[in-house]
Amino acid sequence: MSSDILVQYLVSGLMLAMIYALVAVGFTLFFGVLDIIHFAHGDVFMVGAFVALASFLSLSAAGVSVPVVQLLLMTVASIAALALLGILTARYLVLPMKGAPALNVLLMTMMLGTILRESVRLFYPEGANPKAFPSLLPTNSIEIGEISLRVDNIIMLGFGAATIICVSLLINRTRLGLAIRAVAQDEETAKTMGINYTLVVMLTFAVGSGLAAIAGLISGLYYNEINFSMGLLLGVIGFSAAITGGLGNIYGAILGGILFAGLQTIGAVALPFGSAYKDVFAFAVVIIIMTWRPTGLISTLSSERV
């Protein structure tokens, strides 16, 4: 019995870790190519969840009721929408600010986050209230000995892990990945070697925002509820996870995501009233870890930046 509960906590912890990691990888990618922190990234994640929900509703209205088709189209729609949003952000907000004081870029991305958050609150029908997200995956359980695992959780974990592996392959094995790494290492040299800098930045934003879309979709499917302000928490934690693992390092970001999810899950279990105060605890952990190691836990991998 107790092992069953342990597995439940493990699954929920892993799910959280994956969502954090997907968001943190975005932060790290943007920082790598452009040396900026994209503060709106948490809200981009939230928009992804809402696009998925909106496309589910319109598919249902159009009479498509096969869950697999719905899921597939929702995923495509939210990734495409966010990739476009990422490209537009890079092209019209972030790239023109290149050379401006870092403070201005920070404020700019933060205000973009506010714009996204407020737009969803105001313009999505009844966007101020939490929205129910459909559970489209099969919810039956598999029994392995004493342990029971839900099929939907396994599928989501598998999908998330596959996404992370794909991103790492994209960065390490493809020409685009090579270009991204080149720009991250030395922008000037990369330009002289014939890399189209603007295009690489825009594609990086597309990839990072697409990851946020997947994270938003998974989070909606897992918690079955989304709301307009959930991006704030994700943004803060994703950013902290990226820093903890050393900004500019994908594996570091993933490790950071796992660390924060682990701490949060342990906190929810171990602390009295843990579940009521889980967000308070998460923010406190962020402040403490950032104070303790502002350059990241894996200091050899981190670039200075503080």
Binding site: M97, E118, V286, I287, T291, P294
Partner: protein, 385 residues
Amino acid sequence: MSRFFHRKLSVLPSIIALVVAMAYLALILHVETQSMIIALLTGGAISFFLASRFDLVSMVRQSYSAHERVMDILTALAVVAVSAVYHENSFVLFMMATVLVYVIACLGLNLQFGYAGMLNFAGAAMLGVGGYTAALLGNGQIQTIFLLPLGGLAATIIGSILLPPMLRTHGHYSAVITIAFNLLFTTFLEVYSGFGGTQGLPVVSMSLFNFNFNEDWQLGSFQIAFYANYFLLGFVLTIIVMTVVRRIERSWIGLSFDAVRLDEISSPCFGVDIALWKAIAFMSGNFIIGLAGAFYALMLGYIAPTNFSFSDSLILVTIIILGGLGSIWGIVLTAAIVIILPEKLQAIQEYRFLLYAVVVTLVLLFRPGGLLPRVPRIYLPGWRP
């Protein structure tokens, strides 16, 4: 020739500007129909644009600083005169007092952000600490006037929790730490039932020497709405805080703040202790914000976590950026715009956070200096470098 260049500027431009600005303010506060308000706002925006285009704004500012003492007194009198026009109108007086709360809070934030360059997105949390202190300690035992400095003190103490992280980090990192703190603060207040939870807490009304601030009073044949009391107290507080902040800016303290902001590497070489000055800026700024929070709570009579959300922190930062980083008169101007505009234009009330975010984005892209950019410090009235 040098006599020509150092000729003392006439006081006239600043007096004209003051009269025009006050007449405009009174008009905006008076007008009720939405179409008239929109017309007035458009007219105001166009006139300000033209005035800054033809260097009238900088002329006024030079003239003002040449006759600073006289003009300060005249401005104070003019603001009181505008409030006297509305002595019966509770809503207008409440609005003007709210503007003052934001002016005081932004002056505090300005010490941290505008001068010492420390990003603080937990301004609303510090307001909240001051407000909740006033709510919790105001039980009739303590003279309510002492709740104001106590609120400031509480904000300084709670804020000093953030001091170690703020000293170890800067830029994005301190931004995310203060955001996390503000979110922590509001979620904690919502969850913890001891401070009223999401419902919030009632706050005692202000009273001074047995004079209850929440009562209307008579002056001759005039009926004075009770918000006038809060407005006048807030006005006195604003004058005190503004004087202090301006003295700080002009002194070697302000000079050290600027050094810390502008170059963290070369200022230690000149003997400026970065950690010390950052700590001073952060704590004194939090004190002022907490003071504003306590005053705000006493005026509102009821506070809840939603009064101090992260969005409100963004409003504080918005005021500072739009006014021009480090510019005191910029803060006064934009605080008035940011607070009064959504109250008068009902159509944008709901959309105000969105609107401000868009406006700040545009200002950052096209006019990074803000509406009234900070001018080089002038050590004495009329003094010229």
